[in-house]
């Protein structure tokens, strides 16, 4: 049974953690894609920026959170989300909007977003240095060890405080996003614009407002994901580059322009990564003695080593592009 707990810790929890992060990033990417029709490569750096704002605010007021009993970084998340949203809207106004007005091809927008990526990365590294730093300045990261009430199980299920916050916030965000898109006037207008921008404009929908709302949403979600990821591991300026591929793989798997597909895609990529790097010989160990002589188990039975984790989202990406470029759900085809 201990092996099962290993599996829960290393696959279920780890997969859900990265899945949540990818899902929140992929939703932003897919929203931007469906409204502005380009792949936004600076998304990972918007996450880093959000986390960096939390780091800054937490360093300024290290003990603010203890007053109301939450870790300070959690308390600093709403202002950081607002700042990231402002940054996103500002970047759009300064760099993307003039290009859009010129009617450039989407791929030029992609290059522009790479330019923004580099600028953001340069600025963050200039101010934060290149090393890692913990978001827990004054607080202590709680780690919960939950022993299972089963005979003979010694290994506890391990889950950390930021992971619990991550799961809770992911669920809240998904529900809130669903309500926003299906109930609110702005949300419906957003879907309308993603369906048919010309008709949306002809209906009197102010497309500039919708674009701004999209950036606010994407920026806010990016800040949440970046902060919780940095809380769970540690804040690093080059966090973003390794998130880019899984996030885009998730968005494409879910069908570009399909927010809930992106969430599903995020979890798929997250779990696939966790399953691929999991050492399966752990699970087979109890049966070791009953195996025939000629079939000795190697000690490492992982599909890929952790150092090759990036192969997993790439493989998923290529597979989906070869077999179903529109994504696994019946998404619209945005060409």
């Amino acid at each position: 049974m201990n092996e099962l707990v290993f599996f829960i810790n290393n696959v279920m929890i780890a997969g859900a953690v990265s899945g949540s992060i990818y899902a929140m990033g992929a939703v932003g990417v897919t929203l931007i894609f469906s409204i502005m029709r380009f792949a936004h490569f600076a998304h990972g750096d918007m996450m880093t920026f959000g986390a960096f704002m939390v780091l800054l605010l937490t360093t300024l007021f290290p003990s603010a959170g203890s007053a109301i009993g939450v870790p300070t970084p959690i308390l600093m998340m709403p202002p950081a989300m607002a700042l990231t949203a402002c940054l996103a809207v500002g970047i759009d106004r300064t760099f993307y909007k003039p290009l859009r007005a010129h009617g450039v091809k989407p791929i030029v927008m992609v290059i522009a977003s790479l330019g923004v990526t580099l600028m953001l990365q340069g600025l963050i590294r200039l101010f934060a240095g290149t090393g890692g730093s913990s978001l827990y300045v004054d607080d202590r990261k709680e780690i919960f060890r939950l022993p299972l009430p089963i005979e003979g199980v010694r290994v506890p299920v391990v889950i950390t405080e930021p992971q619990l916050y991550l799961f809770a916030l992911t669920i809240i965000c998904v529900v809130a996003l669903h309500l926003f898109l299906s109930r609110s006037r702005l949300g419906k207008a957003m879907r309308a614009m993603s369906d048919n921008p010309d008709l949306a404009q002809a209906s009197g929908i102010n497309t500039n407002t919708i674009v701004a709302v999209t950036w606010v949403l994407a920026g806010g979600l990016a800040a949440i994901a970046g902060t919780l990821l940095s809380m769970d591991v540690t804040f690093k300026p080059d966090l973003s580059f390794f998130l880019l591929l899984p996030i885009f793989a998730a968005a494409i798997v879910g069908g570009v322009g399909h927010p809930f597909g992106a969430i599903a895609g995020g979890f798929m990529v997250g779990f696939a990564e966790a399953l691929a790097v999991f050492n399966w010989s752990l699970l087979l160990r109890p049966f070791r003695d009953s195996l025939p002589e000629w079939l000795s188990l190697p000690s490492n039975l992982a599909f890929v080593g952790t150092e090759y984790k990036i192969v997993v989202p790439f493989f998923i990406l290529v597979a989906i592009l070869v077999w179903r470029p529109t994504g696994i759900f019946k998404g619209k085809v945005i060409t």
């Binding site: 330019g115 923004v116 580099l118 240095g129 580059f241 494409i252 989202p313 990406l317 592009l321």
Partner: protein
């Protein structure tokens, strides 16, 4: 249908414009020459020549990207991966043979492992064809997948074991001790092969997907080269790599580098000449017709995707060769030294600043941007030091200790800013490619 089309336009612009005197080109290159001379005077001939050789290597990379982006509108965001592949081939084929490896049983075992791999692939392919002998499709898929997973596990465990043995007994498998140019050619071919695979998957789809996929493949190539210690020594790096011409120890730094520069110059001249020929041949006309008007080119029955794939592969080959030449020159293979900033985005800036699709402009962009790049580090450091002193004197700041590493980060920002500014204010670059309309 009342959707009216404009009456057929005058075809005056299909006739090539009369040759004008290339004043703009001349002025830009004269300016560049002046800057190079200043660098020579300030930093000495050895430094200046090294800078020129490196910018020549970058010019090869930039020519590869300008073919893809400027000729065909394909954005390759993973130049780094192809450069690294080229570098690996330059290393693998040119360095001396490792006797500790070849004199043991390890080569045989490695060969067996590779044979197993081929066998496993053949088995899985055979399983995926089972439906031809009457096995239901779903069952066939299930068999193929399960067989694939099991065989993959067997092969990869076997491989891990042998890789571990090689590392512990012989360090790494070493080189082939073949002539340097052989590695350069294989580097180009290998990069082209990977490019074929990626292009085959992505070129029929939205242009964004190619960018995403190339970023991915670049990171994977780097991860492989970095972690496959049995093949590349990984982070331990391999050096020195031999030169195709007498090295600095024989003829001195400046002369050796000047000789290397002439080698790169010959390579560029050959590439330039061939591209020029191809560009004005029917093939090039077709490429430009596709770029300028994809729909009408398709309507004329041209096989667009095949042409695009050719372009993409050709660009990747040049990147592989450029990467190989660069690695040989630096005389070290360090997989960790391949960075998206230095080997992808820098090349991108060269191309879009110089003039996408314009070979001369691309070469100008490569040399100009490389000089800016090389000089920006010391420049940023002095600006930052000045600012820090100023701040410390006037406001009593705590000067951060790791100033030089932070100054390097300023270059990241500058490259990003440069990309944004060029796209906004000079989207066609310094030497714009003249888009003519073709019949």
């Amino acid at each position: 249908m009342t959707q009216s089309h404009p009456p057929s336009q005058q075809r005056a612009d299909t006739v090539a414009a009369p040759r004008r005197f290339p004043l703009r080109e001349l002025l830009l290159f004269l300016g560049l020459l002046a800057v190079v001379l200043v660098v020579y005077a300030a930093m000495g001939p050895a430094y200046g020549t090294r800078m020129l050789v490196e910018s020549a290597c970058y010019a090869i990379l930039a020519l590869g990207l300008t073919i893809q982006w400027g000729y065909a509108g394909q954005f390759n965001a993973g130049v780094m991966g192809f450069v690294a592949l080229g570098g690996f081939c330059a290393m693998f084929f040119s360095i001396p043979v490792n006797d500790a490896f070849w004199n043991s049983e390890l080569p045989g075992e490695l060969g067996m492992a590779l044979l197993y791999m081929v066998g496993a692939i053949a088995l899985v392919i055979a399983a995926s064809r089972l439906n031809r002998i009457g096995v239901p499709r779903t069952l066939r898929t299930a068999i193929a997948v399960i067989l694939g997973v099991v065989l993959y596990m067997v092969v990869i465990s076997n491989f891990r074991e042998i890789a571990g043995q090689i590392e512990s007994q012989a360090g790494f498998i070493g080189g082939m001790a073949l002539p340097v140019w052989f590695g350069w050619i294989v580097g180009g071919a290998l990069a082209g092969g990977i490019g074929y695979f990626i292009g085959h998957v992505c070129l029929g789809l939205r242009s964004d997907y190619l960018a995403i996929a190339t970023i991915g493949i670049a990171e994977i190539i780097k991860a492989f080269l970095k972690n496959a210690d049995w093949l590349t020594r990984g982070t331990a790096t391999v050096s020195p790599l031999p030169w195709p011409i007498p090295g600095p120890s024989e003829v001195g730094f400046t002369l050796a580098r000047a000789l290397y520069l002439s080698v790169t110059a010959v390579i560029i001249a050959v590439i330039f000449f061939l591209l020029h020929r191809a560009y004005n041949a029917p093939w090039g006309r077709m490429i430009r017709a596709i770029r300028d008007n994809e729909v009408s080119a398709a309507a004329m029955g041209k096989n667009i995707n095949k042409r695009r794939l050719e372009i993409f592969v050709l660009g990747c080959i040049l990147m592989g060769i450029g990467g190989a030449v660069l690695a040989s020159f630096n005389s070290i293979f360090d997989p960790q030294g391949y960075l998206p900033l230095n080997h992808t985005f820098l090349v991108l800036v060269m191309v879009i600043l110089g003039g996408p699709g314009n070979n001369l402009g691309t070469i100008f962009g490569a040399v100009a941007v490389y000089i800016i790049w090389i000089m920006s580090g010391p420049l940023a450091l002095s600006v930052l030091e000045w600012a820090a002193h100023f701040g410390a004197d006037t406001f009593g700041w705590d000067v951060p200790t790791n100033l030089d590493s932070r100054a390097l980060q300023a270059r990241v920002f500058v490259i990003g800013l440069l990309i944004s500014l060029v796209l906004r204010f000079a989207p066609k670059g310094m030497l714009p490619e003249k888009v003519r309309h073709h019949g």
